[in-house]
Amino acid sequence: MGNFESLWHGFSVALTTYHVLLMITGVLLGILVGVLPGLGAPNGVTLLLPLTFGMNPVAAIILLTSMYWGALFGGSTTSILFNIPGEPSSVATTFDGYPMARQGKAAHALTLAFLSAAFGALVGVILITLLSTWAANFALRFGSPEYFAVYFLAFASFVGLGGAAPLKTLVSMGLGLAFAAVGMDTISGSLRLTFGLDTLVSGISFLVAVIGLFGIGELLISMEEGLRFDGIKARISPRAVFEAIRSMPRHWVALLRGSSIGCWMGITPGGPTAASFMSYGLARRFSKRGKNFGNGEPEGIISPETADHAAGTSAMLPMLALGVPGSATSAVMLGGLMIWGLNPGPTLFTDRPDFVWGLIASMYIANIVAVVLVLSTVPIFASILRVPFAIIGPMIVVVCFIGAYTVSASQPDLLLVVLFGIMGYAFKKLDYPIAPMVLAMVLGDKAEDAFRQSMIMSKGSLAIFWSNGLAATLTALGLLLLCWPAIAATWRRARNGKRPMGAVENRGSNGGERQEVA
């Protein structure tokens, strides 16, 4: 098979001392960037880009992609340790990772996250190797109606995840949609909800909101509960790492589900953030252990992490083959490709096989390098939690504000962090789920654009979402998932008339962990 020969050739290009050193540098820089909230992979890659101008394209892309892998790994570290997602795509990892760390199993949680991430990445690369041509063309079939159907599916898989009160989920989601609408509207070209304030013209950055909601909000809660981290006294040894490694095969269903969702969302391209949310939502709904989600359930870490990395990796394919970036980071890399004098597009595979297959081979190697590096850091990171809160608390505040400032170097964002922090605190006190709001902020404006573009095309007819097999299938799946709680409840009642509806979902994603702390 041609692809394997090409891959073999790719390994010969990628496996040089120089390239491996670049991978190690990239991964280490990436971990650093990923650990700092706000300074995410897109920013990191952008900062590094000027350094690559003088390099040859293969070395340059290896450095940038290695940094990306490192950032994806690093992002989950702070999610688990401090409930502060270092990357947007690791928000869903906080839901179970943080409770697990609070139970004193930080090393276990980190190892699970890194291993499942590596698994996801591996599946992503294998997919690229095997299906490069076919999968690339598949992305072309996505027009606005299909995109809307994908986003709808992501929303639908997440509805009901919030917890007890559907109304509270709705309020939270509505607020998120409103925040997403702030700024210049793509479809009409006019400003919305800016109240004449200059800073709002560019919209509210999702990252700033997340840093406030999770980082500052969580800190306020911790302070109220007595200025300490709980359950962190647990012994941290390399043994915890090995135990976690041994437990991995047990979760094969979650691993496979996560990576297929991830690959799907990476290629379509819905992006890693949407993928991790969707994977978490689906796992919670369909896993046998669904009712433990939110309380430090291993599958609650494995599902979003696998999907996140599978999506991040497979998003490289549409970027290379079509010039369609599947994520913010690959959009920056796309800019890099053009500066290095390459033209992403269907001919890249034939014009520059050295570059393409060198990159693909480097994805295998760099991810192995990354796993080894991050796993060796687990004990170090996990022991951070033993530092007294009086020291680590102020440091988290500083990191949050630095992170929020780095997003777009804008001072008003600092005020927004405080406001979102207070909002996050209020949400937790009042038992409103934060996740639906975050999801709405990530996907809200994309979904809105796709919907309105579809409406322009169809002159206002909803039938466009059923106009072809792909869109119709996605829409139908979305509707099915949306109604799933009702369907499941009816089914249960039909079988044994007594059980109350929604018994499985009686705990909020954040409500759960608070009870643990108290």
Binding site: P50, M184, T186, M338, G341, N343, G345, S408, A409, Q453
Partner: protein, 334 residues
């Protein structure tokens, strides 16, 4: 002055005599790091423009101070201008833009106006091409426009953003030919290119660099270029065609003489004349490098260097033309 710098100035001076004199005449010199403000997100045309200049300036050490590139693309670039405009007279903030500097304030109520900036230079003009899907039955612009005329409001024209250059051009095409399209706005030209490649829209008016990858792969094909004369000679892009083989729109029956987008560089209002002269000097040196020529050729832009009164005239007439379209469409803010 370092040895490398001297060598480079030597090379550049050899390329175009007399350039060094324009630098010598300028008294102003940067005294702190310079910010390059990109009024667009990473990866787009304006971003490539600014980063190409940054990489050339860095390579040939044309500026003694470090350069920081900031992407501020929020609100169709409004965020960047907001940041780049002030404080007035600060010549360490260089803003990279297109014609959005003077057109955006016409359609949205913002806290800055076109005259909050001093124009430094127009470095190139980007062209607009009418593209259709690679498998489209239409081989000429005329055939496509005739088909659109026969079925008004059915053909989908994609473009980047709303009330921006692409929609303005679409509106000009309608006015000139009577063909009416459904205009579908996307976040970027890149997105519009992919949607066309996938056959979800019927045409778009992308810049050459936004669609070159898909054209090479046969996913899209150009019908005509909105330029007074054909594009510069160059290597073949596909097996049979080079950029210069694309007919102009005027010769293929769309009576629009020219529609272009300048790549512009700005300083805040009140920047000293010396500082403007300093940057013009630097940019002239940038233009003389092989890297710049390669950038122009690769992105199929037209090399056109505008400064001083010539630049002001270009801006005034460009704004005039756009204002007329905005007026007709009712986009002007009160």
């Amino acid at each position: 002055m370092s040895a490398a710098f001297r060598k480079v100035t030597g090379v550049v001076a050899a390329l175009s005599l007399g350039l060094a004199s324009s630098l010598a005449a300028a008294d102003w010199k940067p005294s702190q790091p310079i910010e390059f403000i990109v009024t667009a997100g990473a990866g787009g045309g304006t971003d490539n423009f600014a980063r190409t200049i940054q990489s050339i300036v860095t390579k040939y050490k044309l500026i003694d101070q470090p350069i920081v590139v900031l992407n501020k693309g929020g609100g169709s670039g409004a965020e960047g201008f907001q940041y780049g405009k002030g404080p007035a007279g600060d010549a360490h903030k260089v803003t990279f833009a297109t014609n959005n500097e003077y057109l955006l304030p016409l359609i949205a109520k913002l806290s800055w106006k076109g005259d909050d900036f001093t124009p430094v230079a127009g470095m190139a003009v980007d062209e607009f091409i009418l593209w259709v899907n690679g498998k489209s039955e239409y081989r000429t612009a005329k055939a496509y426009i005739d088909a659109a005329k026969a079925k008004p409001d059915t053909f989908k024209m994609g473009g980047s953003q709303s009330k921006d250059t692409d929609q303005t051009l679409t509106s000009e095409i309608s006015a000139a030919t009577g063909a009416r399209f459904l205009y579908v706005p996307y976040k970027s030209g890149g997105e519009a290119a992919v949607q066309l490649a996938g056959g979800h829209i019927d045409s778009n008016t992308n810049n050459p660099s936004e669609s070159i990858g898909q054209w090479k792969g046969g996913l899209v094909k150009p019908l005509c270029v909105f330029s007074a004369k054909r594009l510069a000679q160059g290597p073949k892009i596909t097996e049979t065609m080079a950029w210069s083989d694309i007919p102009t729109c005027a010769e293929s029956g769309i009576p629009i003489e020219q529609y272009q987008q300048p790549r512009t560089v700005w300083l805040p209002k009140g920047a000293p004349a010396d500082a403007v002269a300093y940057y013009v000097g630097v940019l002239e040196k940038v233009r003389a490098t092989p890297e710049w020529k390669e950038y122009i050729e690769r992105s199929a832009q037209t090399d056109r260097f505008l400064t001083g009164a010539e630049l002001k005239n270009f801006i005034a007439s460009d704004e005039q033309k756009a204002r007329k379209v905005f007026q007709q469409e009712g986009w002007l803010i009160q």
